[in-house]
Symmetry: D2
Subunit: 296 residues, 4 copies
Amino acid sequence: MTNKKVAFMGLGIMGSRMAKNLQSAGTPLIVHNRTKEKAEALLTHGAEWAETPKAAAESADIVFTMLSNPQIVEEVAFQEEGLLAGLKPGALWVDVSTVNPSFSETMAQEASSRGIRFLDAPVSGSLVPAEKGELIFLVGGDQKDFDEALPYFDIMGKASHFMGNNGKGSAMKILINLMLAQNMVVFSETVHLGTAMGLSQEVVVDTLLNHPVAAPILKGKRDKITQNEFSPEFPLKHMQKDLHLVATTAFEHNYAMPLANAAKELYAQAKQHGLGDSDMSAIFKWLEKNSATTNE
Amino acid sequence: MTNKKVAFMGLGIMGSRMAKNLQSAGTPLIVHNRTKEKAEALLTHGAEWAETPKAAAESADIVFTMLSNPQIVEEVAFQEEGLLAGLKPGALWVDVSTVNPSFSETMAQEASSRGIRFLDAPVSGSLVPAEKGELIFLVGGDQKDFDEALPYFDIMGKASHFMGNNGKGSAMKILINLMLAQNMVVFSETVHLGTAMGLSQEVVVDTLLNHPVAAPILKGKRDKITQNEFSPEFPLKHMQKDLHLVATTAFEHNYAMPLANAAKELYAQAKQHGLGDSDMSAIFKWLEKNSATTNE
Amino acid sequence: MTNKKVAFMGLGIMGSRMAKNLQSAGTPLIVHNRTKEKAEALLTHGAEWAETPKAAAESADIVFTMLSNPQIVEEVAFQEEGLLAGLKPGALWVDVSTVNPSFSETMAQEASSRGIRFLDAPVSGSLVPAEKGELIFLVGGDQKDFDEALPYFDIMGKASHFMGNNGKGSAMKILINLMLAQNMVVFSETVHLGTAMGLSQEVVVDTLLNHPVAAPILKGKRDKITQNEFSPEFPLKHMQKDLHLVATTAFEHNYAMPLANAAKELYAQAKQHGLGDSDMSAIFKWLEKNSATTNE
Amino acid sequence: MTNKKVAFMGLGIMGSRMAKNLQSAGTPLIVHNRTKEKAEALLTHGAEWAETPKAAAESADIVFTMLSNPQIVEEVAFQEEGLLAGLKPGALWVDVSTVNPSFSETMAQEASSRGIRFLDAPVSGSLVPAEKGELIFLVGGDQKDFDEALPYFDIMGKASHFMGNNGKGSAMKILINLMLAQNMVVFSETVHLGTAMGLSQEVVVDTLLNHPVAAPILKGKRDKITQNEFSPEFPLKHMQKDLHLVATTAFEHNYAMPLANAAKELYAQAKQHGLGDSDMSAIFKWLEKNSATTNE
């Protein structure tokens, strides 16, 4: 592993922390980002700078891309000075961005037609896990490519799940987001019913969070709920978009999802009433008996 | 604590194990059950037998009742030879049965009018936690009565939550069941979407169960799901009834619960199609893309 | 028919108009009401006054009751000076009030045990149809009793439907209300989607109302919607209560109703956000993209 | 009007009947269809045949297209021998096919860039109304173009609604289908609740259909329901697809539609359980208490 040259593109909130962990573990890095300033800390500690995705890719055995949406991945990959123009046959491209399964499949085909190997490896976890190297990788592609990338995943994350062929990593990411969206609605309705019945909100919240019926991830939303402060980590409107993606995917695969669609419309209501830019946990606020948004 | 005389009534699947744990910890017990056979093991190890609830109550400082529904609690309490006829003023009645909050409130009033103290203390957990002394107690009543009962809860359980005045323990129990019901639907839809997208069911199940988006309680349903075997621990029709209780309670408290009602009707569909006597996790089967129940 | 003595009790908004139509058609009437003033117009034109329900019932061959809820029906029937104390065996009691099916069944049994015949005959239609004699009667009981009452129904209404034995008239009334509730939600969502797509609200409203996909009853709500003025004819909170009755009835009969329950919660949301005392058509306002209630 | 030369393309179930009505009213016609046989009856009565869409368009002042989906409209319009290659500037193209609003907008732009006027004018009504000249036209475009086409709409239909600029006719068509889909679910749940309560299915069906709470269009589904025979007029899977289009459109316009999404999933369930090729009214069968599909 240590002999391989690694390129990392996309040094935003997540990418910069992931690259930092690779560097700290001794990985020789070549980096690229739309704006060079975000690379400064890495360059100071010895990373090499590339002016274009192509330049970064040319000398790399393995390339990680952490970009904010499929359109940007496409641009970085296919532009004239893009990474596909630079990557040598046999190289491995690991896209850790969150994108649609079908987009990952398309990227895999485009890569394959150029003799390049591809993994879709979106991560579960946000800023803090990225910093601590505690992300969870959900990976689609060839098992042997997964094995090759695993040492890097182990540096940046605490678990890596091989889900099947290309697109399956991105597919699993959708499922994780669906679970999170639903957990938040279920928890909200339950807590509010509790207070409607005369229980103390704080007591209900803490009893549930310490009980095995509550998903552990909900603990991370405790403070937002109890302090009624919903600054965005994962904006509610993005979650609503993901649920629309779930519904569309289910339609395409001929699977009925009554509960997922019901939740989707609750997020749509919340967005419609001004909570789209708040954290997705603001669905708690929308589902209050006397929703504060309606009294303003 | 050890000086107090404890009566325990209701020695079914749960009660027998709970009483056994009290006995093993050295608590002097007087027991009663509709059928005496179920008390044999306890009597062999030194418990005293009472022919009637009244007889059990007369010499007790504290009485536990673990009965299967409100009707039976009512009967055991109010019949001529019932426990309220036997309990001396100042005694403490701890009802650990699962009942409606309003029923617990009524029992508390009836007890109070006779100078008897009352706690509603339903438990979360089934056979195995009962046996291992790992139940979770959800308790409503006076704080000092809770404190007095706590040593016993600690023997039978691993956690005890004081929820507020009478009825609040039973209220919290409804919330736990609601969370469980919803978790099961959410997990089912998510797993089935995964397989519809081409993921392996087993891989999705295990990836989710090892991820913080899944409530730990779901692990207990893993084998039923993967083995497609839904012998009842908690019959689906009882869960559907509990969801109807949730909906009615929400109506009475003027709280809208769109998602809970949507889930309620999914359990109603499953029951309607023959899964009422299966375990509540059989909702997984009902929500399959090609539900097996529909091909029989 | 003309030889029979008819008693009419309950001279509110509906009852006074129905009795007036009977009187205008030449029916000899004896009337009773909690407050005598409401009977004045009828007395002026020859109706006889009775001080108590019992007094009204004693001389009658057929009694109509038009009361506002089951509690008042019960009181009028069973009080010491109540109608059941006055009715002679063989007489016919026609309850045209809107009540639960199970309540109608109970009244039928109580009547039958006294040798009195009973019809539950709730009406569909409000003030204007009552005045014009254009109500629709939904009737449960014996076919021959229905035939006997039909001439009176024909005076007060434009259609009478025999639905089966006692309780079935009241059952049918629930179904009518369910249809109305759902029509209103469906129409609201459809119109608002139209305006979201850039269509003129008035054009969409009128195109739909003139198209066979719209229930004719919706025409009666056109002005409320287009003028955004929701003074109550049928308060929204009563419709929400009726939907809860639908859900409870469906539960009791083991029938899953996903859409009815979804609509139920939309009315619950609307009520929760302050529209409970508005007309039920104010669900249109709640379902607006930018609900006015949320901007106040 | 009579001086204008009219071309009609697409002589399927609907188109052949619509063209026949134009011909019977004395309109000089030039026709084209993928297979010539379907034009025989029209040719016998004096219509002119065109070998290609281009040929048909060249001599026409006004062209009607009645094609089965957007892909075919696109092909007929843009192929080398297509209608846009033939139409002279100033001519009027009236697309009476059912397509997405955005597709209609695109066609309007393409036409406009060639100096051609365009109306989207989808029809409401199926075989029988087409034959009787009782269709309903929902029209988007310029008011003066609508006025010009109106005499032809009047021959083929009983009502024509001008909805606004291009795309608005197609938008209105979506709304009509949504209302139909919802009416069918609402009616089904209501009737089945009635039978669950002990009412006769036939009595409930007919009482509702004769009551203003039922949309008149439901009468056309009466026989399918009462005879439990669901041969397709409008296949259920197409309705499910239309509801997915509704949900996607609502998402794009940021409008929450809880009830429409709930209904969408009921159709999805029905399709999933084998009713996709039955008539859309087979949702009645799916929503039965003991759905026959589940006993096969």
